[in-house]
Amino acid sequence: MKDKKIPLLEMKNISKDFSGNQVLNDINFSIQKGEILGLVGENGAGKSTLMKILFGMDEIRTTGGYGGQVIIKGEVVNFNSSLDALEKGIGMVHQEFSLLPDFSAAENIVLNREPLKPSIMSELFGDRMNSLNRDEIDAIAKTSIEKLGISLDTSMKVSSMPVGHKQFTEIARELSKDAKGETNPIELLVLDEPTAVLSEKEADSLLIAMRKLAKQGIAMIFISHRLNEIIDVCDTMMVMRDGLIIKHIPIEGVNVQDIARWMVGRNVSNSSKPREFDYTDKPTILDIQKLWVDMPGETVKNVSLEVKKGEILGIGGMAGQGKLGIPNGVMGLYQSGGKVVFDGKELLLNNPRSLLDAGLAFVSEDRRGVGLLLDESLEWNVAFTAMQVQDKYLKKYLKGFMTWRDSKAIEEVTQKYIDQLEIKCTSSKQKAKELSGGNQQKICLAKAFALEPKLLFVSEPTRGIDIGAKALVLESLRKYNRELGTTIVIISSELEELRAICDRIAIVTDGKIEGILEASKPSEDFGLLMIGQKVEEAI
C-alpha cells in the first residue's frame, strides 16, 4: 500500500525561463504506477520543455537549468542525458521516428543494445568485435512486441513498413530497454503525439496496446492533439497553457469541448480592439482550389480558400497540420499542385518568379533559411528581391544592356525601412546574421514591403522574437494594410495573435481547411476546429 503513497514520478515547483522568457511557471504534478496521464496544450504551452527537463536534455542545461525538483519514487533526480533517465526506467517515444530504414524491426528495437556472442577477437580489439546474437535479438524484439499485444514481423525492414508499424517499433524499442537487465525495467513511458501520423485504425490499435501496458503497471504520459483519444485512453488529464497547469483532473466526465476551451481560453486582456472591416462585399483577390503541397512535416492535402481584397486573413491550426504548407506551396517553395487564381488570372505554380511578378510576396517562417542572406548586408537583404523582380535600384546603361547596382538608392530604401520599422543595427551595411531575431524579422518585412505587393503572405511573424518586437511587427503589418490596402494573409500558431489582428481566421487540420470563422468568435470555437470538430456556424 505504501506504493500508492509515493508516486512514481513527481515534479515539484518546476520553472524554467529562456533568457528572461518564462516558459514554465511553478509546475506541480505527480503520476502513479500504471496511470495514463493525458497532456494537452497548444504549441508553445510548455509541454515539450517540461519533457526536456524530465529527460535532462542538453538544451535545458546550456540555457541555465531549471528551478524545482524532479522526484522519482521519492528520490530527487537530476539527469544528464536521456540515457540516465533510461537507467531509472523512463523512456520516451518521439514524434519523429528515430529508426534506421534499412534495419529490420528487431535490429531497430535493440539498436546499440544488441546481445552479443563473445569472440576471441574482442579480447584483442574490444567488445565491439563480438558478434551479434541474432536469436536473442529476435527473442527480445518478440517479447517487447508481445507486451504491446500486437503482431509485427520482426524481420521486416523498417523502410517497407506501414507507418503504424514504425510507431510500434519505436515503442517496442523503449519497452525492450531493460532486456539486458542493466537498467531498471521501464516504468514510465512518455509518448509525444504518437498517433499524429497514424491512420484511425492504427491509432486504435495503439490505444489498445497502451491500455495493455498500463495493466502491466507501466505509467504513461500521453501527449496528443486528438482529444478523443485522450478521453478514450487516459486515467487523468492535464491541460497546459502559457507555462501553467490549467487543469489536472481525472478524465471521467470531461468532454472534448471542455478540453478545447481550457486549451485556448485566455483571460480577456485584449488591449487592441478588433478591426472594423467589412470583407463581405469585397471582390475575391486570391482563389485557391484543391491545393496540395509536399512540404515535409506540413503536408497540405486538399485546401480550397478564398481571400478577399483588402482583408487580413489569418490561418491557424496545430503544428504539423499543414498551415505552413499553404503559403510555401503557393509561393513555389515546395512542390505543389492544384489551381490558384489571383486577381482573375490563374497562376503558374512551382515558379516563384511568376508569383512575385503577379504581385504576391511572402515573408517566410524560416527566417535564417529562406528569408535572409545571412552573410550579406542589410541593404542587400532589403533590396534584393525588388531589384531582381521589379528592376528597382538599378542604373541602366546601353539601353538596359548593362545594369549596375544603384548603391545610393539601395542605401536610401534600406535606411527608410530601418527608421520606419525601428530596426536596431549599426548601419545598413551590417551583416544580417549579426542582428537579433526580432530585427531580422523586420528586415524580412522590409524586403517584402519593398516589393509593394498586392497580397502579402506572412508566415509565423512573431515566432522566436521578444514581446516588444512582436507588437511592433504586428502593428506595422496592420499599418501597411491600412495605408496601402494590401491584402495580408498571416499564418500563425498563436491564435490570440491572429484574433487580435485578423478579420477572419481559417483553421487548418490534417491538410485541409477545417473551417473559417470571424476573428471575434469565442476562442473555444477555434479550439474545436483545431481538434477536428466542425462547428455549425462555420462560414
Partner: protein
Amino acid sequence: MKKITSKGIKSLIRNNLVTVLFLVICSIGIPLSGYSPSYLISEIIVRLSRNSFLILSLLIPIMAGMGLNFGMTLGAMAGQIGLIFVTDWNVVGIPAMVLAIIISIPISILLGQLCGRILNKAKGREMVTSYILGFFMNGVYQLIVLYGMGSIIPIKNTSLVLPRGYGIRNTVNLIGIRRSLDSLFNLSIFGIKIPLMTFIVIALVCVFIVWFRKTKLGQDMRAVGQDMEVAASAGIQVEHTRIVSIVISTVVAGIGMIIYLQNIGTLNTYNSHTQIGMFSVAALLVGGASVSKANIGNVFLGVILFHLMFIVSPMAGKNLIGQAQLGEYFRVFVSYGVITMSLVLYEMRKKRENLANAEKLQENQGALNED
C-alpha cells in the same frame, strides 16, 4: 516464381547501367582485339589475384556511409614503406611479405586515424576530402622517402639509395619477394596457372568481411552509415566508428598493396600508389557498386570487367584504327568516365528519391479529384 517483365529488365539495366555498359564495351572489344580466350582467362586470373585485395579495402567505409575511400592510397604508401624496409634488410620470400605487412600495419593505423579524423571534420564531402588528402599525404610520403630515407632513416643497401646519398631510387626491384605468394601453391588447369595461395588469402579477407558485418562493430557501422543522428541518439559513438572504418580500410589497403606489388615485382617508388586509388574505385563501380552500397560480388565482377577492358583496348584500338596509343587513351578515358558516371547516377538517384513523395501526393490528389 517471379515473372520477368520488360519493366523489370529495364529497371535492372537502369540500376546497373555502368555494368551493362561495360559488358557491351567488352563484348565489342574482345573480338576486335583478337586475343585467344585462354590468354584472356589467364590474364584475368592474374589481375584478380593482384587487385581484388586492394579493392576489398573499399567495402568497409562504404558500409559506414563514408563513400568511396580515395584515402586508400595512404594504406598503399604504408605498404610501400614496409616493402622498402624489407628490401633494404635483404629479407626475401614469404617471410619478407609477412614482415612488410607487420611493418605496414602500425603506419596504416596511424594514417587511417589521421584520415578518419579529417573526414569527420568534412562530413558530407568525404570523397573529395579523402581524394585531396591522398595528394597531400603523397607530399609527406615524398618528404620521408625522397629526403628522409638514407639521411635520417638509415638505409644501408646502396642499391636502393639515389646516387646523391639519400632518398630512395625511382624504382625498387622487388626480386626477393617477386611472386613469392603467387607461386607458393600453384595449380594449373588447361595450362592456365592459378595462384592458389593468393586466392586463399583473398578468400580469407572475404570471410573476414562477411564475419565483420555480423559483429557489433559492423552493425554499428551500418547504423552510422544509414543515419548518423539516429545512431548517435542510440548511444553509438559515431565519430569513433567512422574512424575505425577508415583505419580498417587503410590497413587492408596496405596489405593489398604488398600483395599487388609482389605480383608486379617492381616498385615505382613515387608512382605506384597514386594510381591505385583511382583504378580500385573504378573497378568497384564497374562491378555494380555505388557510393552507398557495395558487396564482395561487385569486387570480383568489377575486376573482371574492368581489366578485361584494360587488356583488350590497346589491341582493339590498334586493330581498329591502327594506333595502340588510342586504345590506351581510351581505357584511361573509360576509367575516369566510369567514376564520373557512377557518381552522377548516384547523386541523381538521391534526388529522384526525394521527389517520390511529391508524386505520391499528386496521385493522391488525382484520386480525390475523381471522387
